[in-house]
Amino acid sequence: MTSAAPGAHDVEAPRAYDFKNLHYKGAGGVLIPLLQKFQVQDGYISRERIAEIHRKTGVPLSQIFGVATFYAQFRQHAVGRNIIKVCHGTACHVAQADGISKALKDQLRVGEGETTPDREFTLETVACLGCCSLAPVLMINKDTHGNLKPADLRKVLKPYREQKTKAGS
């Protein structure tokens, strides 16, 4: 590992992982956990992070980029403060999840995968949140909300907005 001078973006993570799998097959086994850690930290996987992981682990750049773009979890762009994931599983689909997505798009004036100009909300869709009996469902950050109607959405989003006004005032 290189002993680069610690900078603002310096990675501490590799030390947190003890590389216990290194003796089997290189550093591959830690790649996804590392990317997940950075995504939690930064909200997305930046090019700088990819370069950094390459420097510290020796995993080829192509492999890191390949993995980071393969999995749905990893984003390549910065996101808003709150992430809304609208479930489009089977049960939600037959319970009109399309209507929920449409109402959110209208309300927030963003398209799928986009972030509101005030960087408050990012709108995403997910395959299934596993709360099928409460369909239609959405998840904001780590909270799940079920049995939704398009008319309820304003109320559901409100507390997430208020947090900011309080913090900002």
Binding site: K25, F70, A127, L134, H145
Partner: protein, 587 residues
């Protein structure tokens, strides 16, 4: 006496967190002997939030829809005066309550502890006989005998394919190699399935115990749980469970002081459906793109880091401790000739009692839908069940007497799958259901095989075209041709089974496809491009529809019936939703 609040993801989504907080806030008013606790999910998702009052002698009262405003009365009447509140009761241990039928037909092996114990306290799992099965197999120290018991029990993989679990263990045990691995596949990617989430959230230790028993059987010291990152609560509770088991020496370097070493590590999935396929899952743990590879060699011979690896899913592992403790016969007396034991189903869709049920194999679809789950919502007509998610298919209402066992389900063209059972009613368009699943598999195809990558895309285009009213003569044949190409020319299960939703809907609901293509009509009134909106005689001229219409297609004097101008109508459905008098007809 104890008050227990069901705090699974579904309970919390229904507001159980607020109920729990409300009860805690009032604990000052409770008697000293009354404790408040958490538990997992009992499966009655349709009556969440659930609160249980449990006497010290084991008597239980389960209350449904316990919003915070009901807490005061519960504490006052039941806890304070000992008078249960009949009208809120959903189930009691002495056989009363409105939802008795839901639990009565069930046979609970996998879900034995779900909703009974606190998943975050290992003490409670130990109290109900937890880790006794592991202790027994370690003291007996006869891995071959153990594998024979699992084979004899007839337990088949609950992930979908239904391979005999004991045989899989034997192959891995016999495979040469010093280091071997056990992997628990908790990458429950099928939309419409949540069995594994519930088990992991409500009873994580039973899965860990099953894995450790599997580790002992095949001679492995390291287990991995590959769990979806979309299930944050399952991840959290598994982490707690692993730490607690290690602290008590039930996992770790020297389990039960017998010298058996077994560690469990969590790997969070990163959101790729294809990682449910075992070779893709292994690639993902190794830090590569989750792409499947050719089999053989099977993972039992060459798996994780090229070592022999045994992969089972959550439900399979949760069965194992029960089988060890109760014997193979107790398990294989349930079920049919080739499918033993029970199966957990995640019931969702247009059903009255949506939730988690565990029924013995051999029960019919009709019994599950009507007897256990109370039939269809709002009195509508039962149309079909979708089983097995994107790899499965739709079984029509005419075949509701099909029994649940691997072979009978396969005969219909669907598959058992991991257990998602989505119930569809007359308002569901089958072409749209097929389009939905194709859209899913098309996006989730890893791209390795051309027919899966491109073929599903072409199939989706045809389906989209049909639902948009632009279907052409010959589209059905085109779909069938593409389906057979995709099925026969894909490497892994994802591609091989991707056409199933299309093929089964074509087999049983061909007339619906034809109506879309030839008549430009959607019989279920779901495909918006094919709808015509008209105002009927119920209109009293309130004007709400006119204000809702962005295209200004609705006109009429106040108090007089309105008219829709079809040349302006964009079929946005806003008028239909806005009307409070059912005066808009969609045909």
């Amino acid at each position: 006496m104890r008050i227990l609040v069901g705090l699974g993801t579904c309970g919390v989504a229904a507001g159980a967190g607020a109920t729990y907080a409300a009860i805690l806030a009032r604990t000052g008013t409770l008697h000293g002997s009354c404790k408040v606790g958490k538990t997992g999910c009992v499966g009655m998702c349709y009556r969440e939030p659930l609160v249980e009052v449990r006497e010290n002698d084991g008597k239980r009262w389960q209350y449904g829809q316990m919003t915070p405003d009901r807490v005061d009365r519960l504490l006052e009447e039941h806890v304070g005066k000992g008078e249960p509140i009949e009208e809120w009761l959903v189930w009691t241990s002495d056989g009363k309550g409105q939802e008795k039928a839901f639990l009565d037909r069930q046979e609970r092996i996998v879900l034995r502890n779900c909703g009974v114990i606190d998943p975050e306290k290992i003490e409670e799992y130990l109290e109900v006989g937890g880790y006794q099965a592991l202790k027994r197999v370690l003291y007996q120290n006869d891995p071959d005998g153990l594998i024979n018991v699992i084979i004899e029990s007839g337990l088949r993989g609950r992930g979908g394919a239904g391979f005999l679990t004991g045989m899989k263990w034997r192959f891995t045990r016999l495979a040469p190699g010093k280091q071997k691995y056990v992997i628990c596949n908790a990458d429950e990617g099928d939309p419409g399935a949540f069995m594994d989430r519930s088990v992991l959230e409500s009873d994580p230790h039973s899965v860990l115990e099953g894995m450790a028993i599997g580790g002992h059987a095949i001679g492995s010291t390291q287990g991995y749980i590959y769990v979806r990152a979309e299930y944050p609560m399952a991840v959290e509770r598994l982490n707690i469970a692993v730490a607690q088991a290690e602290a008590r020496g039930l996992l770790g370097d020297d389990v039960f002081g017998t010298g058996f070493e077994f560690h469990v590590e969590l790997k969070e999935g990163a959101g790729a459906f294809v990682c449910g396929e075992e070779t893709a899952l292994i690639a993902s743990i190794e830090g590569r793109r989750g792409m499947p590879r050719m089999r053989p060699p099977f993972p039992a011979v060459k798996g994780l880091w090229e070592c022999p690896t045994n992969i089972n899913n959550v439900e399979t592992f949760a069965n194992v401790p029960w089988i060890v403790l109760n014997g193979a016969q107790a398990f294989n007396r349930l079920g049919t000739a080739n499918s033993k034991g029970t199966k957990v189903f995640a019931m969702a869709g247009k059903i009255r009692r949506g939730g988690l049920v565990e029924v013995p194999m051999g029960i019919s679809i009709r019994e599950i839908v009507h007897d256990v789950c109370g039939g269809i919502k709002e009195g509508r007509k039962f149309k079909a069940v979708q089983m097995g998610g994107p790899s499965g298919g739709c079984i029509p209402a005419e075949l509701e007497n099909t029994v649940i066992d691997y072979e009978s389900i396969n005969k219909t063209g669907a598959i058992m799958g991991s257990g998602g059972l989505v119930v569809l009613d007359e308002t569901t368009c089958m072409v749209d259901v097929a389009r939905f699943f194709l859209d899913f598999t098309q996006r989730e195809s890893c791209g390795k095989c051309t027919f899966c990558r491109v073929g599903t895309k072409r199939m989706l285009e045809v389906l989209v075209r049909i639902t948009e009213g632009k279907g052409k003569e010959g589209d059905i044949e085109r779909l069938e041709n593409l389906a057979s190409l995709v099925r026969n020319n894909s490497l892994c299960g994802l591609g091989q089974t991707a056409p199933n939703p299309v093929l089964t809907t074509l087999k049983y609901f061909r007339a619906e496809y034809e109506a879309h293509i030839s008549n430009r009509k959607c019989p279920a009134h779901q495909c918006q491009a094919l709808l015509t909106y008209t105002v009927n005689e119920k209109c009293n001229g309130c004007g709400v529809c006119g204000r809702a219409c962005a295209a200004k297609a609705i006109t009429g004097e106040k108090g007089k019936p309105h008219v829709i101008d079809h040349s302006l109508c964009t079929r946005c459905d806003e008028c239909y939703r806005a009307c409070r008098f059912e005066a808009i007809t969609r045909v």
